[in-house]
């Protein structure tokens, strides 16, 4: 495993986000060359893959399971359908989808990161989930699937990490069948000032410390906090989805907007 933060750039603006040029993108609050973001994101997940599930439970106090459950409730998935769980990581959503589409359906767990994919694969195999699961290492920006292929695409806590989100949304649109739907579950903008403040306090001060304590990697969780703050808010993401071609886009705030679920259709 690589040293998690070895090639991170120096922090440019500790106070917050800043303007970026054409060839640059955000990595948390840091501005980096676009070409390097993917490998730096990979480092983050590489360094946390083994304890990823544990950390999820700790950091969200278990609530992430309910956010994911809600996502599945909104998926409308049926037996026989083909589902892509993109940036699927350790396969929380994929496991349930596998049972819901049944042996006549198919679930593809795709992630850019080999280590996360491997943890996911081992976990699902241990659960006895085999028949309708495929594992694909892929970048959301250029999905290696045919046009009009999936009935449902989910991306949970993944879009935030993608360098070129517009490109990723366009790629998802391409591989989705007409009539199919996209669900984006992602951290968003808390709708109440007070909650927003409390949440900032938590994510910038508590979260990296837990990360340091449990995984011995505070910086990865510092990245997490920063990347959450940099992620487009509810309305911005809705507009981005619309620009990628999705229709009937709605979103639902959970836990006061800390997390939002966006849903859009391809027609």
């Amino acid at each position: 495993m690589s040293e998690p933060n070895s090639d991170r750039p120096q922090e440019i603006s500790p106070a917050g986000p800043q303007q970026v040029g054409e060839e640059q993108t955000h990595f948390g609050f840091k501005t980096v060359e676009k070409a390097r973001k993917a490998s730096m994101v990979a480092d983050v997940f590489h360094s946390v893959a083994g304890k990823y599930d544990l950390m999820n439970d700790l950091l969200s106090m278990g609530v992430h399971r309910l956010w994911k459950r809600f996502t599945i409730d909104c998926s409308g998935v049926r037996p026989g359908q083909r589902v892509l769980d993109l940036a699927g990581g350790t396969g929380d959503l994929a496991a349930k989808f596998s049972r819901l589409v049944g042996p006549t359906g198919q679930v593809v767990l795709a992630d850019i990161n080999e280590a996360m994919l491997k943890v996911g694969r081992d976990k699902l195999r241990d659960k006895g989930i085999l028949v309708n699961m495929d594992y694909v290492q892929a970048n959301a920006e250029s999905l290696p699937f045919p046009d009009n292929h999936f009935d449902l695409i989910t991306i949970a806590f993944g879009l935030r990490n993608v360098t070129d989100k517009e490109k990723a949304l366009a790629s998802m649109f391409r591989v989705l069948k007409p009539g199919g739907r996209l669900l984006v579950l992602e951290f968003s903008k808390p709708q109440i000032e007070l909650l927003s403040k409390a949440y900032d306090l938590y994510s910038f001060h508590v979260l990296p410390k837990i990360g340091q304590l449990v995984v011995g990697d505070g910086e990865s969780y510092q990245y997490l906090a920063e990347s959450i703050r940099m992620h487009p808010d509810q309305e911005t993401l809705k507009t981005m989805m619309s620009e990628a071609g999705f229709e009937q886009i709605t979103y639902h705030n959970m836990t006061g907007g800390i997390v939002a679920l966006h849903r859009g259709f391809k027609f």
């Binding site: 609530v63 399971r65 809600f70 599945i72 998935v77 049972r99 042996p103 241990d126 836990t255 006061g256």
Partner: protein
């Protein structure tokens, strides 16, 4: 959110644990595999959708097609455990049923051996109007000032207090049970792994 999801997650966990304990449940699940059943319990604000495979997944969705849908009251759920009662329950108008009768019968058969206390599982959520309101997802609503205040109150209690307190119990339980079932290292899992290894070996 997420009180309804919490209830469903606790119920799903309880059901599957009971199914796991019963060595013959796999047999009784078989005719249901791939089927969907929606039950509107009259006391609950949202219908429960049962999706069957080698276990039961519970969904809170109202839109997808199901093989069979039923509406009944909490007390009638218990009587569903006896297949021979179904006809009578319908006649007495205690149960309304649409769709595939076989699915209903197989479900009843599945419940027969399970000693599940529905009232205990569900009653603390019954009449949980607040939860119901929060479930009005994706329904655009005109928000007047009163509703705005109500929503604010709701979000605060949802986000800051209620969720964490409620969340601890069933989720901790879920974690614990996951650990237990992992330790148990039951034959099915082992077999699945073995099959996989054999497949890999055969494929090479």
């Amino acid at each position: 959110m997420p009180a309804p999801q919490l209830m469903v997650s606790a119920l799903e966990l309880a059901l599957n644990k009971l199914l796991h304990l019963d060595p013959l449940s796999g047999h009784r699940l078989q005719p249901l595999a791939g089927k969907r059943l929606r039950i509107q319990v009259r006391e609950l604000p949202w219908p429960l959708t049962f999706a069957f495979s080698d276990q039961v997944d519970l969904l809170l969705d109202e839109d997808t097609e199901v093989d069979c849908s039923m509406s009944l009251s909490l007390s009638t759920l218990k009587d569903m455990q006896d297949v021979s009662q179904i006809g009578q329950l319908i006649q007495q108008q205690r149960l309304s049923l649409h769709g595939d009768m076989h699915t209903a019968q197989s479900f009843s058969n599945l419940l027969k051996e399970l000693d599940i206390d529905w009232e205990e599982q569900l009653s603390c959520y019954v009449g949980d109007v607040l939860a119901h309101q929060t479930l009005q997802f994706f329904r655009s609503a005109r928000i007047d000032t009163r509703q705005r205040l109500e929503r604010l109150r709701q979000m605060l209690s949802d986000g800051a207090l209620q969720e964490k307190k409620l969340a601890a119990h069933p989720l901790a339980l879920e974690d614990f049970s996951e650990q237990v079932s992992q330790l148990r290292g039951d034959a099915a899992r082992f077999e699945a792994r073995l099959t996989q290894l054999e497949q890999i070996k055969a494929g090479k």
